[in-house]
Symmetry: C2
Subunit: 326 residues, 2 copies
């Protein structure tokens, strides 16, 4: 597959293997947002042995290279237009989240994807994490009965953040950048859908007091009285053992499953258990296989749209102070 990369501001590194692989050729790269740098990505690809052409304009790259796959990873608030252009060029699209900056743009992307008829996945990396995948599998196998309540937590160290995160236009918001993972866990593990969301946020502790929001909460109603909460913060102390203190607690009628510190805890009629994580999966490899009709990626286009839309509506709820219905 001929792969191009547009931007490298997020997690596109997950597409880059340790050595040349037969399933992918990185033919070209270009920045996707003004102010981005592709130097690190170019160096990394060349170290492995790829020889990508570097373009100044990603649209020109799409026209000239006619790639099979576009990996899109520019500034978080500016993914939408690049994704639209990539679908218009007939590409399979593997994109950093959030796919869009607002629900209206997301609908345009959904329409463009339908027209393109290609594969699409957002970088919901936790679906390929061994602990989260094991928790999902246990729930699917009935280990906790019917899911009734979910509590998701994202907590990151602030560390040193790039300048583009200090403006909403280029950043997009903490709920769609960080919180979206928790939102995706909730939809994935519950197998359900949202009916409404209420959210709050604060940028009081941001270096400029404006952006990024350093704390946020969202509360979701779901079908049949199922419900979910999300807490997000950038206040995980520098001395914490992990960059992210990511947790999910899924409460069912017959048990509770939790992920924390990269491990799974299951509590049901058999008492407290610590099942082994599943092996880590190969996200981009699965995506490429699916694109050539040889497999199935754990993140479908439909799920990408659902989680993204939920995150954007949660951001709208936080910005407006209103409960937003789905």
């Amino acid at each position: 597959m001929k792969v191009v990369m547009i931007g490298s501001s997020g997690h596109s590194g997950l597409c880059v293997p340790d050595c040349i692989r037969e399933d992918r050729t990185f033919v070209a790269i270009a920045l996707g947002s003004r102010g981005e740098s592709m130097e690190g990505m170019e160096r990394r690809l060349r170290e492995i042995g790829y020889t990508p052409t570097v373009y100044g304009d990603y649209r020109e790259m799409l026209r000239k290279e006619k790639p099979d796959v576009a990996v899109i990873d520019n500034f978080y608030g500016e993914h939408g237009q690049v994704i639209l252009d990539a679908f218009a060029a007939g590409c399979h699209v593997f994109a950093e989240k959030p796919a869009a900056a607002n629900p209206e743009q997301l609908e345009q992307i959904q329409e463009a994807w339908r027209r393109a008829g290609t594969s699409f996945a957002g970088m919901f990396t936790y679906r390929y994490d061994g602990a989260f995948y094991k928790a999902w599998q246990l729930i699917r196998q009935g280990a906790i009965g019917k899911v009734r309540l979910l509590n998701a937590q994202k907590s990151y160290k602030f560390g040193t953040r790039p300048d583009f995160m200090s403006r909403r236009k280029t950043y997009g918001g903490t709920i769609p950048w960080v919180g979206i993972h928790g939102i995706d866990w909730i939809l994935w593990m519950s197998g359900g859908h949202f009916t409404s969301v209420t959210a709050v946020q604060s940028a009081a502790e941001a270096p400029n007091g404006v952006c990024p929001e350093t704390t946020a909460l969202a509360q979701f109603q779901m079908e049949d009285g199922m419900m979910a909460s999300l807490t997000v913060d950038y206040l995980n102390p520098a001395a914490a053992p992990f960059h992210g203190d990511d947790r999910i607690r899924v409460v069912g009628t017959k048990g509770v499953v939790e992920v924390r510190y990269n491990g799974v805890t299951l509590l049901n009629s058999q008492g407290v258990q610590h099942p082994q994580n599943l092996p880590e999966g190969d996200f981009f490899g699965d995506f490429l296989a699916q694109a050539v009709g040889k497999g199935k990626c754990r993140v479908s286009a439909e799920e990408t749209f659902a989680s993204t839309r939920a995150a954007l509506l949660a951001q709208r709820a936080a910005d407006s102070g209103e409960t937003v219905c789905f």
Copy 2:
């Protein structure tokens, strides 16, 4: 102090010592709700050596006994009138939560308390728990900087529940019965106040599908962009190591403190620490000492009113589906 007990449907047992104590004489008991039984409490008091008179009508008991202190613990949704009567009789009041069934009744109680000029405390028992008290002390000592975000969790085993819990009138609701503890932790540990609350609840898994609500969430905005979430459920599996899986996570600008499984975890620039719990305190003993001007109870009347009002407004938010302002 001459103590009477009205009802014994909740945690009034915490007032009963293992042997006769000089600071309290249980002179009389009476039920406070139709359908309650005082037999167990009478037996327990007699086993220790107290000889309480048993009344059929608590109002008659208040008139005849002229007690110093009334311990109020009838059905959870019916505390309010009994508390009003006890203040009218000039008693110090030590009452099971929630003090009232709605915010209007709570205001009446506040007015009655002002007129009585006596001591008042709700049974916010966790303030006398060694782990929660240690967490509070660490926060007060500045171990996590400025508090920005709090996540509280209450999770109980359902077990066998008395019949009065199957009706809202006598039960009061899961948020004011169970969730109120988490609400009190949030106010206590943050030292802040609420500005609005949004809440959801579901009784889908209750035996009669109506009451008690088996899951609930509440999301609070606080001053200066501080915020808090609360999750409540009765789905802690029977095989769980503890009846309650009670947790609080308090995130500050310089660290995080958590209580879980009766232990404290502190994470700040010193790394992960597990400070020792403080000794368990004597809640009712402190209350009695305060009533005679010899000390200070960890739960003030003002705090009792604040936590109770917040729980009642959260219940109103859950019932109405509206965000409720404080």
